[in-house]
Subunit: 198 residues, 2 copies
């Protein structure tokens, strides 16, 4: 009998953090789990609203939804509490190297973020520029100013330029635990240690 | 030809507010809509979490969910912001005249309310005693004390007595607009104008 060497798949180990993050949403959710487990904050993703039309009961106590449709949400995806403060945000990704298109943001999200902002909540977007693998925290009031100007013939534009992110948004540290430490930025922003004059 | 009188169902008009409220949940949701429209607060019900297994596309841009299941939520049903403060609560109904059974509250709700409470949020239950048509705001720390004692052989009990609601919870005014003015109670409670020493 001959012992043939067992074929083994060679796995290339990578320590590049960029490969750890499956999607922006799961990176945020794992960060939220970290914050929750360490009693830093209580922030959850809201479930996707679904209109249930038909339910069957193939087994006792087991409801099976057989007809349902996605509904338009009336809020952003994430909210919660951090150090007594109400936090509210949405997450956006773009493949563009030059700007984040405003069509990535829905009107109901702007309306909701404005309502939150008026009530004194911490409102923002987390924006991922995939080509640079950079994550920015964009405070809501900067978002509002671009949103409100977009139909202005002279100053308006349909996107927020990358340069504006570099200048007025905050780069979020990407690491192992938490994956996206956006509350570090919130904390700096809350304490008035921000780099712009908003 | 004979004209028979048309049979008409006699509808008894009622102005009793009790009949206006279909369910506790819809009363809270209509109150939240009132608060939102009047810029008093931004509080929403979270969608029920659903695990989608199969989706078909009978028409372009129209996703039809054909297999899905209800998931257990990890939070309470309602949260939001009021005057800069984070608000978090759940709603319960009971037919009992003497107490609210603790089995109406789920462990994950207690865990979540505790996390919120630790972060400095305003956490509570809205409890409807249907037999009296009374609505109470029960602050979370009173709920916690009954919850933690329930397995105690001497002092423990499986429910919170109605008398405890009368003594330590706050009766919520029921009216036309908003239907259930629970934020009035939150406001009094926040300002330290509470009737007990918690």
């Amino acid at each position: 009998m001959i012992n043939y060497p067992i074929k083994r798949k060679i796995q290339t180990k990578t320590t590049n953090y960029a490969n750890l993050g499956m999607t922006l949403e799961s990176d945020i959710e794992s960060s939220n789990a970290y914050y929750l487990n360490h009693e830093i904050a209580v922030i959850h993703k809201k479930p996707t609203p679904i209109q249930v039309v038909n339910v069957s009961y193939p087994a006792r106590n087991k409801a099976k939804i057989t007809e349902a449709y996605y509904k338009t949400p009336s809020t952003t995806d994430f909210n919660g509490i951090y150090n007594g403060k109400y936090i509210d945000f949405d997450a956006k990704e773009t493949n563009s190297k030059t700007s984040m298109p405003l069509k990535n943001v829905h009107t109901h999200q702007i309306v909701h973020l404005r309502n939150v902002y008026k009530q004194g909540g911490i409102a923002f977007l987390i924006v991922h520029f995939k080509k640079y693998n950079e994550y920015f925290l964009l405070p809501a009031n900067i978002l509002f100013s671009y949103w409100d100007l977009q139909h202005d013939k002279e100053k308006g534009r349909k996107s927020i330029p990358y340069s504006a992110f570099k200048k007025s948004a905050h780069l979020i540290p990407f690491g192992y635990q938490p994956r996206l430490d956006y509350l570090k930025i919130v904390s700096l922003y809350l304490m008035g240690d921000s780099k712009t004059d908003y």
